[in-house]
Protein backbone atom coordinates (compact mmCIF):
# COMPACT_ATOMS: atom_id res chain seq x y z
CA UNK A 1 0.00 0.00 0.00
CA UNK A 2 2.51 2.51 1.25
CA UNK A 3 6.22 1.88 0.84
CA UNK A 4 9.03 4.08 2.09
CA UNK A 5 12.55 3.17 1.07
CA UNK A 6 15.55 4.91 2.62
CA UNK A 7 13.54 8.07 2.84
CA UNK A 8 15.05 11.27 4.19
CA UNK A 9 13.37 14.58 4.67
CA UNK A 10 14.99 17.86 5.58
CA UNK A 11 13.55 21.27 6.13
CA UNK A 12 15.75 24.22 5.33
CA UNK A 13 17.85 23.80 8.49
CA UNK A 14 18.75 20.17 8.81
CA UNK A 15 17.60 16.65 8.36
CA UNK A 16 14.46 15.76 10.29
CA UNK A 17 14.11 12.19 9.10
CA UNK A 18 16.77 9.99 7.58
CA UNK A 19 17.04 6.50 6.23
CA UNK A 20 13.44 5.58 6.92
CA UNK A 21 12.19 2.35 5.45
CA UNK A 22 8.65 1.35 6.15
CA UNK A 23 6.01 -0.79 4.54
CA UNK A 24 2.34 -0.64 5.40
CA UNK A 25 0.76 -3.88 4.27
CA UNK A 26 -2.95 -4.01 3.42
CA UNK A 27 -5.09 -4.54 6.49
CA UNK A 28 -2.34 -3.72 8.98
CA UNK A 29 -2.68 -1.48 12.02
CA UNK A 30 0.31 0.68 12.96
CA UNK A 31 0.97 3.19 15.67
CA UNK A 32 3.58 5.85 15.09
CA UNK A 33 5.00 7.38 18.21
CA UNK A 34 7.84 9.59 19.32
CA UNK A 35 8.43 12.82 21.18
CA UNK A 36 6.79 15.91 19.78
CA UNK A 37 8.87 17.54 17.08
CA UNK A 38 10.36 14.17 16.15
CA UNK A 39 8.74 14.20 12.70
CA UNK A 40 5.52 12.21 13.12
CA UNK A 41 3.46 14.69 11.15
CA UNK A 42 6.15 15.00 8.48
CA UNK A 43 6.19 11.22 8.07
CA UNK A 44 2.39 11.21 7.79
CA UNK A 45 2.55 13.89 5.13
CA UNK A 46 5.08 11.86 3.17
CA UNK A 47 2.54 9.03 3.29
CA UNK A 48 -0.21 10.96 1.53
CA UNK A 49 1.81 12.96 -0.94
CA UNK A 50 1.63 16.32 0.83
CA UNK A 51 5.44 16.35 1.02
CA UNK A 52 8.00 14.84 -1.29
CA UNK A 53 11.03 13.09 0.25
CA UNK A 54 14.36 14.87 -0.14
CA UNK A 55 16.02 11.48 -0.61
CA UNK A 56 14.85 7.91 -1.09
CA UNK A 57 11.59 6.68 -2.55
CA UNK A 58 7.99 6.84 -1.44
CA UNK A 59 5.64 4.56 -3.30
CA UNK A 60 1.91 4.96 -2.80
CA UNK A 61 -0.19 2.18 -4.29
CA UNK A 62 2.93 1.11 -6.21
CA UNK A 63 3.51 4.52 -7.78
CA UNK A 64 6.52 6.72 -7.06
CA UNK A 65 5.17 9.97 -5.59
CA UNK A 66 7.66 11.98 -7.61
CA UNK A 67 5.96 10.92 -10.80
CA UNK A 68 2.49 11.97 -9.63
CA UNK A 69 0.86 15.00 -11.21
CA UNK A 70 -1.26 17.31 -9.09
CA UNK A 71 -4.38 15.59 -10.36
CA UNK A 72 -2.89 12.19 -9.55
CA UNK A 73 -2.34 13.40 -5.98
CA UNK A 74 -5.98 14.50 -5.85
CA UNK A 75 -7.08 11.03 -7.01
CA UNK A 76 -4.77 9.46 -4.45
CA UNK A 77 -6.37 11.46 -1.63
CA UNK A 78 -9.67 9.81 -2.52
CA UNK A 79 -8.12 6.46 -1.60
CA UNK A 80 -6.40 7.70 1.56
CA UNK A 81 -8.50 9.09 4.40
CA UNK A 82 -6.64 11.64 6.52
CA UNK A 83 -7.53 12.91 10.00
CA UNK A 84 -5.51 15.79 11.42
CA UNK A 85 -5.10 16.84 15.02
CA UNK A 86 -6.52 20.27 14.22
CA UNK A 87 -8.98 19.18 11.61
CA UNK A 88 -10.34 21.88 9.37
CA UNK A 89 -13.74 22.10 7.75
CA UNK A 90 -15.66 24.41 5.49
CA UNK A 91 -17.02 26.53 8.30
CA UNK A 92 -19.97 27.89 6.33
CA UNK A 93 -21.44 24.48 5.56
CA UNK A 94 -23.25 22.16 8.00
CA UNK A 95 -21.46 19.10 9.40
CA UNK A 96 -23.39 16.64 7.24
CA UNK A 97 -22.33 18.44 4.05
CA UNK A 98 -18.75 18.63 5.28
CA UNK A 99 -18.70 14.89 5.85
CA UNK A 100 -20.12 14.33 2.36
CA UNK A 101 -17.62 16.78 0.82
CA UNK A 102 -15.27 14.10 -0.60
CA UNK A 103 -18.23 12.59 -2.48
CA UNK A 104 -19.16 15.97 -3.82
CA UNK A 105 -15.71 16.98 -5.04
CA UNK A 106 -15.24 13.62 -6.73
CA UNK A 107 -18.57 14.02 -8.51
CA UNK A 108 -20.13 11.03 -6.72
CA UNK A 109 -22.69 12.93 -4.68
CA UNK A 110 -25.72 10.87 -5.69
CA UNK A 111 -28.97 10.67 -3.71
CA UNK A 112 -28.23 6.98 -3.02
CA UNK A 113 -25.36 8.17 -0.84
CA UNK A 114 -27.82 9.88 1.47
CA UNK A 115 -28.50 6.68 3.38
CA UNK A 116 -24.82 5.81 3.66
CA UNK A 117 -24.20 9.27 5.02
CA UNK A 118 -26.92 8.81 7.63
CA UNK A 119 -25.38 5.45 8.64
CA UNK A 120 -21.95 7.00 8.87
CA UNK A 121 -23.23 9.92 10.94
CA UNK A 122 -24.83 7.46 13.30
CA UNK A 123 -21.65 5.37 13.49
CA UNK A 124 -19.65 8.39 14.69
CA UNK A 125 -22.58 9.54 16.87
CA UNK A 126 -23.19 12.88 15.14
CA UNK A 127 -26.73 12.33 13.86
CA UNK A 128 -28.12 14.94 16.22
CA UNK A 129 -25.47 17.45 15.13
CA UNK A 130 -25.93 16.99 11.38
CA UNK A 131 -27.10 20.55 10.79
CA UNK A 132 -24.66 22.26 13.15
CA UNK A 133 -21.84 24.33 11.70
CA UNK A 134 -18.29 23.07 12.36
CA UNK A 135 -17.33 25.97 14.69
CA UNK A 136 -20.21 24.94 16.96
CA UNK A 137 -18.77 21.45 17.54
CA UNK A 138 -16.75 20.33 20.55
CA UNK A 139 -13.23 18.99 20.09
CA UNK A 140 -14.38 15.36 20.21
CA UNK A 141 -17.21 16.02 17.78
CA UNK A 142 -14.80 17.65 15.36
CA UNK A 143 -12.48 14.66 15.49
CA UNK A 144 -15.35 12.28 14.85
CA UNK A 145 -16.64 14.42 12.01
CA UNK A 146 -13.14 14.45 10.50
CA UNK A 147 -12.97 10.68 10.83
CA UNK A 148 -16.35 10.28 9.14
CA UNK A 149 -15.20 12.59 6.34
CA UNK A 150 -11.98 10.59 5.99
CA UNK A 151 -13.78 7.27 5.52
CA UNK A 152 -16.85 8.26 3.48
CA UNK A 153 -15.07 7.43 0.22
CA UNK A 154 -14.31 3.99 1.64
CA UNK A 155 -10.54 4.52 1.37
CA UNK A 156 -8.00 1.73 1.47
CA UNK A 157 -5.86 3.52 4.02
CA UNK A 158 -6.73 5.71 7.00
CA UNK A 159 -4.01 8.01 8.34
CA UNK A 160 -4.77 9.68 11.68
CA UNK A 161 -2.36 12.27 13.05
CA UNK A 162 -2.86 12.72 16.80
CA UNK A 163 -6.60 12.15 16.46
CA UNK A 164 -6.96 12.17 20.23
CA UNK A 165 -4.86 15.26 20.84
CA UNK A 166 -7.70 17.53 21.85
CA UNK A 167 -10.11 15.15 23.52
CA UNK A 168 -10.54 13.50 26.91
CA UNK A 169 -9.74 9.89 27.69
CA UNK A 170 -13.22 8.51 27.11
CA UNK A 171 -13.43 10.21 23.75
CA UNK A 172 -9.95 8.94 22.81
CA UNK A 173 -11.08 5.41 23.57
CA UNK A 174 -14.17 5.92 21.49
CA UNK A 175 -12.18 7.24 18.53
CA UNK A 176 -9.74 4.40 18.75
CA UNK A 177 -12.60 1.91 18.79
CA UNK A 178 -13.85 3.44 15.55
CA UNK A 179 -10.37 3.09 14.02
CA UNK A 180 -10.18 -0.54 15.19
CA UNK A 181 -13.55 -1.22 13.59
CA UNK A 182 -12.28 0.25 10.34
CA UNK A 183 -9.22 -1.99 10.54
CA UNK A 184 -11.45 -5.02 11.04
CA UNK A 185 -13.26 -4.00 7.86
CA UNK A 186 -9.95 -4.40 6.06
CA UNK A 187 -8.61 -0.86 6.04
CA UNK A 188 -4.95 -0.18 6.59
CA UNK A 189 -4.63 2.14 9.57
CA UNK A 190 -1.72 4.31 10.73
CA UNK A 191 -2.22 6.36 13.89
CA UNK A 192 0.37 8.87 15.07
CA UNK A 193 0.18 9.56 18.79
CA UNK A 194 2.48 10.46 21.62
CA UNK A 195 0.05 8.92 24.12
CA UNK A 196 1.56 5.60 25.17
CA UNK A 197 -1.29 4.66 27.47
CA UNK A 198 -3.63 4.89 24.54
CA UNK A 199 -1.42 2.50 22.61
CA UNK A 200 -1.36 0.09 25.52
CA UNK A 201 -5.13 0.22 25.89
CA UNK A 202 -5.60 -0.43 22.20
CA UNK A 203 -3.17 -3.32 21.85
CA UNK A 204 -5.56 -5.51 23.78
CA UNK A 205 -8.12 -5.20 20.98
CA UNK A 206 -6.07 -5.30 17.82
CA UNK A 207 -2.89 -6.73 16.38
CA UNK A 208 -1.03 -3.43 16.26
CA UNK A 209 2.62 -2.75 15.51
CA UNK A 210 4.26 0.25 17.08
CA UNK A 211 6.81 2.32 15.21
CA UNK A 212 8.89 4.82 17.10
CA UNK A 213 10.81 7.73 15.71
CA UNK A 214 14.01 8.43 17.60
CA UNK A 215 17.15 10.19 16.42
CA UNK A 216 15.64 10.84 13.00
CA UNK A 217 15.20 7.11 12.41
CA UNK A 218 12.34 4.72 12.78
CA UNK A 219 12.44 1.66 14.99
CA UNK A 220 9.99 -1.10 15.62
CA UNK A 221 9.13 -0.82 19.28
CA UNK A 222 8.68 -4.19 20.88
CA UNK A 223 7.50 -5.60 24.14
CA UNK A 224 8.81 -2.69 26.19
CA UNK A 225 5.52 -0.88 25.76
Amino acid sequence: MIDLENVAYSYGGGELLSDISLRLAPGSFHFLTGPSGSGKTTLMKLCYGALLPTAGYVRLFDTDVRTLSRDDVAMLRRRVGVVHQDCQFLDHMPVAENIALPLQVSGRGTPAQGEDLADLMEWVGLTARANALPPELSGGERQRAALARAVIMSPDVVLADEPTGNVDWDMSQRLLRLLIELNRMGKTVLVATHDLSLIRATKAHVQARVLRIANRRIQLAGADL
Partner: protein
Amino acid sequence: MTGGQLSRMFQRDTQADRVVPSSGFTAQLTLFAAGSMAFLAVFALSLSLAAGRLAERWGDELGRSATIRIAAPADQQQAQTAAALRILETTRGVDRARALTDAEQSALLAPWFGADLALDALPVPRLIEVIETAEGMDAAGLRLRLAAEVPGAVLDDHSRWRDPLVDAAQRLRLLGWTSIGLIAAVTAAMVTLAANAALAANAQVISVLRLVGATDRYIAQAFIRRFTLRALIGAAAGMVLGMIAVLLMPGGGDETDSFLTGLGFQGLHWLLPLLIPPLAAMVAYGATRMAARRVLEGLS
Protein backbone atom coordinates in the same frame (compact mmCIF):
# COMPACT_ATOMS: atom_id res chain seq x y z
CA MET B 1 -12.82 29.41 -24.20
CA THR B 2 -14.77 26.92 -26.24
CA GLY B 3 -18.54 26.63 -26.25
CA GLY B 4 -18.33 23.26 -24.52
CA GLN B 5 -16.27 24.62 -21.67
CA LEU B 6 -18.66 27.50 -21.32
CA SER B 7 -21.77 25.38 -21.14
CA ARG B 8 -20.13 22.95 -18.70
CA MET B 9 -19.21 25.87 -16.52
CA PHE B 10 -22.79 26.99 -16.26
CA GLN B 11 -24.27 23.53 -15.96
CA ARG B 12 -22.28 22.62 -12.86
CA ASP B 13 -24.70 22.35 -10.00
CA THR B 14 -24.85 25.26 -7.63
CA GLN B 15 -23.73 22.84 -4.92
CA ALA B 16 -20.18 23.07 -6.25
CA ASP B 17 -20.45 26.83 -5.94
CA ARG B 18 -21.30 26.64 -2.29
CA VAL B 19 -17.96 25.20 -1.23
CA VAL B 20 -16.55 28.72 -1.46
CA PRO B 21 -18.34 31.13 0.88
CA SER B 22 -19.71 34.16 -0.90
CA SER B 23 -18.02 37.47 -0.26
CA GLY B 24 -20.60 40.22 -0.42
CA PHE B 25 -18.51 43.36 -0.54
CA THR B 26 -15.75 42.32 -2.96
CA ALA B 27 -18.40 40.78 -5.18
CA GLN B 28 -20.14 44.11 -5.44
CA LEU B 29 -16.86 45.90 -6.12
CA THR B 30 -16.16 43.54 -9.00
CA LEU B 31 -19.64 44.13 -10.38
CA PHE B 32 -19.22 47.88 -10.07
CA ALA B 33 -15.78 47.92 -11.69
CA ALA B 34 -16.89 45.70 -14.57
CA GLY B 35 -19.93 47.93 -15.06
CA SER B 36 -17.87 51.12 -15.11
CA MET B 37 -15.40 49.65 -17.55
CA ALA B 38 -18.21 48.58 -19.88
CA PHE B 39 -19.76 52.05 -19.65
CA LEU B 40 -16.43 53.63 -20.64
CA ALA B 41 -15.96 51.05 -23.37
CA VAL B 42 -19.29 52.07 -24.94
CA PHE B 43 -18.08 55.66 -25.15
CA ALA B 44 -14.66 54.76 -26.47
CA LEU B 45 -16.37 52.60 -29.07
CA SER B 46 -18.77 55.35 -30.17
CA LEU B 47 -15.87 57.82 -30.33
CA SER B 48 -13.81 55.49 -32.48
CA LEU B 49 -16.67 54.73 -34.82
CA ALA B 50 -17.68 58.40 -35.19
CA ALA B 51 -14.08 59.47 -35.81
CA GLY B 52 -13.75 56.70 -38.34
CA ARG B 53 -16.87 57.80 -40.17
CA LEU B 54 -15.69 61.38 -40.21
CA ALA B 55 -12.22 60.54 -41.52
CA GLU B 56 -13.77 58.44 -44.23
CA ARG B 57 -16.22 61.10 -45.31
CA TRP B 58 -13.69 63.90 -45.37
CA GLY B 59 -11.15 61.78 -47.12
CA ASP B 60 -13.64 60.50 -49.63
CA GLU B 61 -16.15 63.14 -50.69
CA LEU B 62 -14.23 66.33 -50.15
CA GLY B 63 -11.05 64.75 -51.41
CA ARG B 64 -12.65 64.23 -54.76
CA SER B 65 -14.07 67.69 -55.22
CA ALA B 66 -12.48 71.06 -55.86
CA THR B 67 -13.71 74.54 -56.59
CA ILE B 68 -12.57 77.12 -59.11
CA ARG B 69 -13.45 80.71 -58.36
CA ILE B 70 -13.58 83.13 -61.34
CA ALA B 71 -13.16 86.69 -60.05
CA ALA B 72 -13.15 88.82 -63.17
CA PRO B 73 -14.72 92.09 -64.27
CA ALA B 74 -18.41 91.55 -65.06
CA ASP B 75 -17.97 91.77 -68.84
CA GLN B 76 -15.23 89.13 -68.90
CA GLN B 77 -16.69 86.71 -66.43
CA GLN B 78 -18.74 84.76 -68.94
CA ALA B 79 -15.81 84.31 -71.30
CA GLN B 80 -13.36 83.34 -68.56
CA THR B 81 -15.83 80.78 -67.14
CA ALA B 82 -16.20 79.21 -70.55
CA ALA B 83 -12.41 79.14 -70.97
CA ALA B 84 -11.92 77.52 -67.58
CA LEU B 85 -14.54 74.86 -68.40
CA ARG B 86 -12.76 74.14 -71.68
CA ILE B 87 -9.46 73.63 -69.88
CA LEU B 88 -11.13 71.33 -67.38
CA GLU B 89 -12.61 69.21 -70.17
CA THR B 90 -9.10 68.39 -71.37
CA THR B 91 -7.57 67.96 -67.92
CA ARG B 92 -6.76 64.43 -66.88
CA GLY B 93 -8.37 63.28 -63.66
CA VAL B 94 -11.40 65.52 -63.95
CA ASP B 95 -14.58 63.52 -64.01
CA ARG B 96 -16.95 66.42 -64.61
CA ALA B 97 -17.10 70.15 -64.04
CA ARG B 98 -19.91 72.63 -64.14
CA ALA B 99 -20.46 76.27 -63.32
CA LEU B 100 -22.93 76.92 -60.53
CA THR B 101 -26.09 78.74 -61.63
CA ASP B 102 -27.12 82.09 -60.20
CA ALA B 103 -29.83 80.35 -58.18
CA GLU B 104 -27.31 77.95 -56.57
CA GLN B 105 -24.91 80.77 -55.77
CA SER B 106 -27.75 82.75 -54.14
CA ALA B 107 -28.59 79.71 -52.04
CA LEU B 108 -24.96 79.50 -50.89
CA LEU B 109 -24.90 83.18 -49.98
CA ALA B 110 -28.37 83.25 -48.44
CA PRO B 111 -27.18 82.47 -44.92
CA TRP B 112 -25.03 85.60 -44.97
CA PHE B 113 -26.96 88.07 -47.06
CA GLY B 114 -30.58 86.89 -46.84
CA ALA B 115 -32.71 85.10 -49.41
CA ASP B 116 -33.79 88.09 -51.47
CA LEU B 117 -30.34 89.01 -52.66
CA ALA B 118 -30.03 90.45 -56.14
CA LEU B 119 -26.90 88.63 -57.28
CA ASP B 120 -26.37 90.64 -60.46
CA ALA B 121 -26.06 93.84 -58.42
CA LEU B 122 -22.90 92.52 -56.74
CA PRO B 123 -19.52 91.53 -58.22
CA VAL B 124 -19.90 87.94 -57.04
CA PRO B 125 -17.32 85.58 -58.50
CA ARG B 126 -18.56 82.61 -60.47
CA LEU B 127 -17.95 79.18 -58.92
CA ILE B 128 -17.11 76.05 -60.88
CA GLU B 129 -17.55 72.71 -59.12
CA VAL B 130 -14.96 70.15 -60.16
CA ILE B 131 -15.44 66.45 -59.39
CA GLU B 132 -12.28 64.39 -59.75
CA THR B 133 -12.02 60.81 -60.89
CA ALA B 134 -10.75 58.16 -58.48
CA GLU B 135 -7.12 58.73 -59.63
CA GLY B 136 -7.34 62.40 -58.80
CA MET B 137 -5.97 65.32 -60.79
CA ASP B 138 -2.72 67.21 -60.82
CA ALA B 139 -3.72 70.37 -58.96
CA ALA B 140 -0.40 72.16 -59.51
CA GLY B 141 -0.48 71.56 -63.28
CA LEU B 142 -4.06 72.75 -63.51
CA ARG B 143 -3.16 75.90 -61.60
CA LEU B 144 -0.42 76.72 -64.07
CA ARG B 145 -2.72 76.25 -67.07
CA LEU B 146 -5.43 78.36 -65.45
CA ALA B 147 -2.95 81.11 -64.60
CA ALA B 148 -1.86 81.26 -68.24
CA GLU B 149 -5.29 81.27 -69.86
CA VAL B 150 -7.80 82.45 -67.23
CA PRO B 151 -6.17 85.19 -65.15
CA GLY B 152 -9.16 85.54 -62.81
CA ALA B 153 -9.35 81.84 -61.82
CA VAL B 154 -8.35 80.51 -58.41
CA LEU B 155 -8.30 76.76 -57.79
CA ASP B 156 -9.13 75.56 -54.33
CA ASP B 157 -8.70 71.80 -54.02
CA HIS B 158 -9.65 71.76 -50.29
CA SER B 159 -6.58 69.75 -49.38
CA ARG B 160 -5.06 72.59 -47.41
CA TRP B 161 -7.65 72.42 -44.65
CA ARG B 162 -8.86 68.88 -45.25
CA ASP B 163 -5.64 66.92 -44.70
CA PRO B 164 -5.01 67.97 -41.09
CA LEU B 165 -8.67 67.26 -40.28
CA VAL B 166 -8.49 63.80 -41.76
CA ASP B 167 -5.26 63.21 -39.83
CA ALA B 168 -6.89 64.40 -36.63
CA ALA B 169 -9.93 62.21 -37.15
CA GLN B 170 -7.76 59.19 -37.83
CA ARG B 171 -5.67 59.89 -34.73
CA LEU B 172 -8.86 60.21 -32.71
CA ARG B 173 -10.04 56.85 -33.97
CA LEU B 174 -6.71 55.29 -33.01
CA LEU B 175 -6.98 56.81 -29.54
CA GLY B 176 -10.48 55.39 -29.21
CA TRP B 177 -9.35 51.86 -30.04
CA THR B 178 -6.33 52.22 -27.75
CA SER B 179 -8.71 53.20 -24.95
CA ILE B 180 -10.77 50.09 -25.59
CA GLY B 181 -7.62 47.98 -25.39
CA LEU B 182 -6.61 49.69 -22.14
CA ILE B 183 -10.08 49.18 -20.71
CA ALA B 184 -9.80 45.45 -21.44
CA ALA B 185 -6.36 45.33 -19.84
CA VAL B 186 -7.52 47.21 -16.74
CA THR B 187 -10.49 44.86 -16.45
CA ALA B 188 -8.10 41.91 -16.54
CA ALA B 189 -5.85 43.51 -13.92
CA MET B 190 -8.78 44.30 -11.67
CA VAL B 191 -10.25 40.78 -11.91
CA THR B 192 -6.80 39.31 -11.23
CA LEU B 193 -6.48 41.40 -8.07
CA ALA B 194 -9.97 40.49 -6.92
CA ALA B 195 -9.38 36.81 -7.67
CA ASN B 196 -6.07 36.82 -5.84
CA ALA B 197 -7.77 38.40 -2.83
CA ALA B 198 -10.55 35.81 -2.95
CA LEU B 199 -8.06 32.95 -3.25
CA ALA B 200 -6.03 34.29 -0.33
CA ALA B 201 -9.13 34.83 1.81
CA ASN B 202 -10.21 31.25 1.15
CA ALA B 203 -6.88 29.56 1.86
CA GLN B 204 -8.49 27.27 4.46
CA VAL B 205 -11.28 26.27 2.11
CA ILE B 206 -8.74 25.44 -0.58
CA SER B 207 -6.57 23.35 1.76
CA VAL B 208 -9.63 21.41 3.00
CA LEU B 209 -10.72 20.75 -0.58
CA ARG B 210 -7.22 19.58 -1.52
CA LEU B 211 -7.15 17.26 1.49
CA VAL B 212 -10.39 15.54 0.58
CA GLY B 213 -9.27 14.93 -2.99
CA ALA B 214 -10.55 17.88 -5.01
CA THR B 215 -8.63 18.52 -8.22
CA ASP B 216 -7.23 21.98 -8.98
CA ARG B 217 -9.78 22.18 -11.75
CA TYR B 218 -12.68 21.69 -9.34
CA ILE B 219 -11.35 24.27 -6.90
CA ALA B 220 -10.57 26.81 -9.61
CA GLN B 221 -14.00 26.31 -11.17
CA ALA B 222 -15.82 27.74 -8.18
CA PHE B 223 -13.76 30.93 -8.38
CA ILE B 224 -13.74 31.19 -12.18
CA ARG B 225 -17.51 30.77 -12.39
CA ARG B 226 -18.08 33.48 -9.88
CA PHE B 227 -15.79 36.09 -11.40
CA THR B 228 -16.90 35.36 -14.94
CA LEU B 229 -20.54 35.78 -13.97
CA ARG B 230 -19.83 38.97 -12.05
CA ALA B 231 -17.94 40.47 -14.97
CA LEU B 232 -20.71 39.43 -17.36
CA ILE B 233 -23.52 40.88 -15.24
CA GLY B 234 -21.61 44.06 -14.34
CA ALA B 235 -20.56 44.68 -17.93
CA ALA B 236 -24.09 44.06 -19.20
CA ALA B 237 -25.47 46.68 -16.81
CA GLY B 238 -22.69 49.14 -17.70
CA MET B 239 -23.24 48.58 -21.39
CA VAL B 240 -26.99 49.21 -21.16
CA LEU B 241 -26.40 52.43 -19.22
CA GLY B 242 -23.71 53.51 -21.66
CA MET B 243 -25.98 52.90 -24.65
CA ILE B 244 -28.80 54.84 -23.03
CA ALA B 245 -26.39 57.71 -22.43
CA VAL B 246 -25.27 57.65 -26.09
CA LEU B 247 -28.90 57.49 -27.18
CA LEU B 248 -29.71 60.54 -25.10
CA MET B 249 -26.87 62.59 -26.61
CA PRO B 250 -28.41 65.63 -28.26
CA GLY B 251 -28.37 65.05 -32.01
CA GLY B 252 -27.33 67.85 -34.33
CA GLY B 253 -28.98 66.69 -37.50
CA ASP B 254 -26.40 66.33 -40.24
CA GLU B 255 -23.25 64.73 -38.94
CA THR B 256 -20.93 66.78 -41.14
CA ASP B 257 -22.01 69.87 -39.24
CA SER B 258 -20.34 68.93 -36.02
CA PHE B 259 -18.27 66.04 -34.83
CA LEU B 260 -19.63 66.28 -31.29
CA THR B 261 -23.25 65.86 -32.27
CA GLY B 262 -22.28 62.94 -34.48
CA LEU B 263 -20.97 60.96 -31.48
CA GLY B 264 -23.07 57.83 -31.51
CA PHE B 265 -23.80 54.64 -33.36
CA GLN B 266 -25.32 54.23 -36.77
CA GLY B 267 -27.18 51.27 -38.19
CA LEU B 268 -25.57 47.91 -37.45
CA HIS B 269 -22.98 49.61 -35.27
CA TRP B 270 -25.62 49.63 -32.54
CA LEU B 271 -24.97 45.88 -32.25
CA LEU B 272 -21.25 46.29 -31.52
CA PRO B 273 -21.62 47.28 -27.83
CA LEU B 274 -23.49 43.99 -27.29
CA LEU B 275 -20.09 42.31 -27.65
CA ILE B 276 -18.76 44.11 -24.58
CA PRO B 277 -20.33 41.86 -21.87
CA PRO B 278 -19.21 38.57 -23.44
CA LEU B 279 -15.74 40.02 -24.02
CA ALA B 280 -15.59 41.20 -20.39
CA ALA B 281 -16.65 37.72 -19.29
CA MET B 282 -13.91 36.15 -21.40
CA VAL B 283 -11.31 38.51 -19.98
CA ALA B 284 -12.49 37.68 -16.44
CA TYR B 285 -12.46 33.96 -17.22
CA GLY B 286 -8.88 34.11 -18.47
CA ALA B 287 -7.67 36.31 -15.63
CA THR B 288 -9.26 34.21 -12.87
CA ARG B 289 -8.04 31.00 -14.44
CA MET B 290 -4.47 32.22 -14.53
CA ALA B 291 -4.65 33.60 -10.99
CA ALA B 292 -6.16 30.35 -9.66
CA ARG B 293 -3.61 28.20 -11.44
CA ARG B 294 -0.75 30.27 -10.06
CA VAL B 295 -2.05 30.12 -6.48
CA LEU B 296 -3.04 26.45 -6.53
CA GLU B 297 0.26 25.26 -7.94
CA GLY B 298 1.97 26.85 -4.96
CA LEU B 299 0.05 24.55 -2.58
CA SER B 300 0.75 20.94 -1.67
